[in-house]
């Protein structure tokens, strides 16, 4: 929106790269949704899946969703950031290539090696699975390392381009303007601010992940070399929290760039906007102890930090991006079509999902909610109803050029996705209220009814997602890098 030139060449290779990300992303998301719905049906006693297979599926669902969310989010960031700074298509493809090799290793570890240590690979479980072997656990960890290397290459390319254009990440993040006394340069793109934030936090997050994965590999092959489980837990949750949050902060670039084209109201930077992104940069990295509130041996200041920053983390989302979206569309004469509906809905999903997450971050609540279905309840809210519509809306828009011809099927799929998705997440939260544990392959009779409601909702979400996914795939050949 803020630049008229295209610093990155619009080549057929670049277009193909974007199409590959979109096609693979949609395909994997749909497959992982089938996996998730199957898990819920197993908990509902409607699928006779043996516990070992269920936990393998759980591991695959988690790793697949998080990895694909990262790749698809990176594709949105690349799609728009290349309009402001020159980005390499080769690095973008290298990330995809390394990720695909990593995925093959992960699939082999789970499918052939029987690995079922969950995507969080909580030390020392990978080495003490009792059922899977050392090589299976190493294959899973090695696959994650390769994916991480791919992301680091991509972020390195983005960081170099930003440094060349703006001189420092400080300036790219707009901090010279936030702390300066002069007037703001309104042409500084929000995309650059968001991308810089993601580069800073995710490089550190992935490096922490790489460290803990290497330590895990060392422990796997040299069992006499052990590490402090609390340190490992801190590293794992720092990495996991930062990585999954970065997916949303990459995808939200689509909202900043696309909605103004519908409304004719540019989304420009302001001091609150820059302050919010600075706050997010710091808080995304510092808030991870809210995953460790039930580790009482943690220093008390970390527990307090976890609770307080968990609350504060919701403020930039709700006050800057959500209100910014509402202000941007209010009485704007926006033309509602599938991309615009999905993008606005995604901000609702993100904003609403923050609420149960913040409530769970209160120690007194966490004491009775931690590791219940409350947790997948809130993260599915802002991933299924926030991140995924954000990604879909952006991809639909990239394939639309002169306007999406909306059919009744599109509208039906959108509303089914939204309503059933909300029901699916509420079923999780309701289960959390009733203390139903998360990550249980076999349910007690009292919990099965909740799982059955969740399964019906998941099936409807899946059906709607298949329609949306197929619609997108058929339009993908028309994708444009300059839409």
């Amino acid at each position: 929106m803020n630049t008229t030139t295209q610093p990155s060449p619009d080549t057929s290779t670049a277009r193909l790269a974007f199409q590959l990300y979109a096609a693979i992303g949609i395909a994997v998301f749909l497959l992982m949704m089938v996996g998730g719905a199957t898990l819920r049906a197993t908990q509902a006693a409607w699928m006779p899946l043996a516990p070992n297979f269920a936990y393998q599926l759980l591991t695959l669902h988690g790793a697949g969703m998080v990895g694909t969310a990262g790749l698809a989010g990176a594709a949105v960031m690349w799609y728009f950031l290349r309009r402001h700074v020159p980005l390499s298509t080769g690095m973008f493809l290298a990330m995809l290539g390394l990720s695909l090799v990593g995925v093959v290793m992960i699939l082999a570890a789970i499918g052939l090696g029987g690995y079922a240590g969950a995507w969080t690979f909580l030390y020392p479980l990978p080495a003490k699975g009792m059922v899977w072997g050392v090589h299976a656990a190493a294959g899973f960890a090695g696959g994650l390392v390769l994916i991480g290397v791919g992301f680091l290459l991509f972020y390195l390319d983005c960081a170099l381009a930003l440094l060349k254009r703006y001189g420092s990440l400080w300036r790219a993040l707009g901090l010279n303007q936030l702390f300066g006394s002069g007037p703001l340069d309104k042409s500084h793109p929000p995309t650059v601010v968001a991308s810089t934030m993601v580069i800073i936090v995710n490089v550190l997050g992935i490096l922490a992940g790489a460290v803990v994965l290497i330590m895990t590999l060392v422990n796997l092959y040299l069992p006499s070399v052990t590490f402090d489980p609390l340190l490992m837990k801190n590293l794992i949750f720092f990495f996991g929290h930062v990585f999954i949050n970065a997916t949303i902060y990459m995808a939200v670039i689509g909202v900043y760039e696309i909605l103004p084209r519908y409304t004719g109201r540019p989304w420009t930077i302001s001091r609150p906007f820059l302050a919010a992104w600075l706050a997010i940069t710091l808080m995304v990295m510092a808030v991870y102890p809210h995953h460790l509130l039930m580790d009482y041996v943690l220093p008390k200041w970390m527990t307090v930090t976890g609770q307080v920053l968990s609350y504060c983390s919701g403020i930039p989302v709700l006050l800057v991006t959500a209100i910014g979206t509402l202000v941007n569309i209010h009485r704007s004469g926006i033309k509602w079509d599938l991309p615009s509906r999905l993008l606005v809905f995604s901000i609702f999903g993100w904003s609403a999902g923050v609420i149960p997450a913040v409530i769970d971050g209160v120690v007194r609540v966490n004491l009775v909610m931690h590791n219940t279905l409350w947790v997948p309840g809130h993260f599915h809210f802002y991933l299924l109803l926030g991140l995924l519509p954000m990604l879909l809306g952006t991809l639909f828009w990239a394939c639309t050029r002169s306007g999406w011809k909306e059919s009744a099927l599109d509208r039906a799929a959108f509303w089914t996705y939204g309503v059933a998705g909300t029901g699916f997440c509420l079923a999780f939260l309701f289960g959390g209220m009733h203390s139903v544990p998360r990550r249980f392959a076999v349910y007690d009779p009292a919990w099965i009814g909740i799982a059955q409601v969740g399964t019906v909702a998941a099936t409807l979400v899946l059906a709607a997602a298949v329609i949306l996914g197929l619609r997108l795939l058929t339009r993908l050949p028309r994708a444009s890098l300059t839409a």
Partner: protein, 177 residues
């Protein structure tokens, strides 16, 4: 506590939904002056910011002033009974499984192998009473006062491998123990 979290979440999420629905309903009508709308919207945003900050300070003070984890407060109460709870794949080892109603029981929770979650469920098993992580090499202390007699089931709430769901124990609260 669980009911409060659920109700509060529903109310606040419904509030967010209503605001979105209201704005979305009128969004396709043209004619709104962008500058006026932005000024009004950002005035609301600034007010809301201070409301959220004040509420945050109040909530933090109310929930953290008295340390929320019994057994880890600076002046923790002296327990009547200490129970050592050790997690193993996939069973709980309790050095004592029967206590009296009203006794302050301190669980010393740890693990012999991988991470586990030590969660105590009320007898009707619809609500968690309290929980702590069980981690190898560390001991988390958890103080619980069982007011009602009955069988309190212990479940593992940290995924620990293929029989995670079957890792259970029972704490019997008996007046005549």
């Amino acid at each position: 506590m669980q009911g409060l979290a659920w109700s509060l979440s529903l109310v606040l999420m419904a509030g967010v939904a209503l605001i979105f629905l209201r704005v979305v309903a009128g969004a396709s009508q043209p004619g709104g002056d962008a500058g006026t709308i932005a000024a009004a919207g950002y005035r609301w945003r600034d007010r809301l910011f201070w409301v959220v900050i004040v509420a945050g300070v109040a909530i933090s003070f109310a929930t953290l002033r008295k340390w929320p984890i019994p057994g880890h407060a600076a002046a923790a109460a002296t327990p009547d009974v200490i129970v050592r709870a050790v997690g193993h794949q996939w069973r709980w080892e309790l050095d004592r499984d029967t206590v009296r109603p009203g006794e302050l029981v301190e669980f010393e929770v740890t693990s012999a192998d991988v991470n586990h979650g030590f969660a105590i469920y009320r007898p009707e098993k619809s609500r968690i009473l309290a929980q702590a992580q069980a981690m190898p090499g560390y001991t988390n202390k958890l103080q619980v006062r069982f007011d009602e007699p009955g069988d309190y089931e212990v479940l593992c709430l940290e995924y620990c491998g293929l029989a995670h769901h079957a890792m259970r124990a029972v704490i019997k609260v008996r007046a005549d123990s």
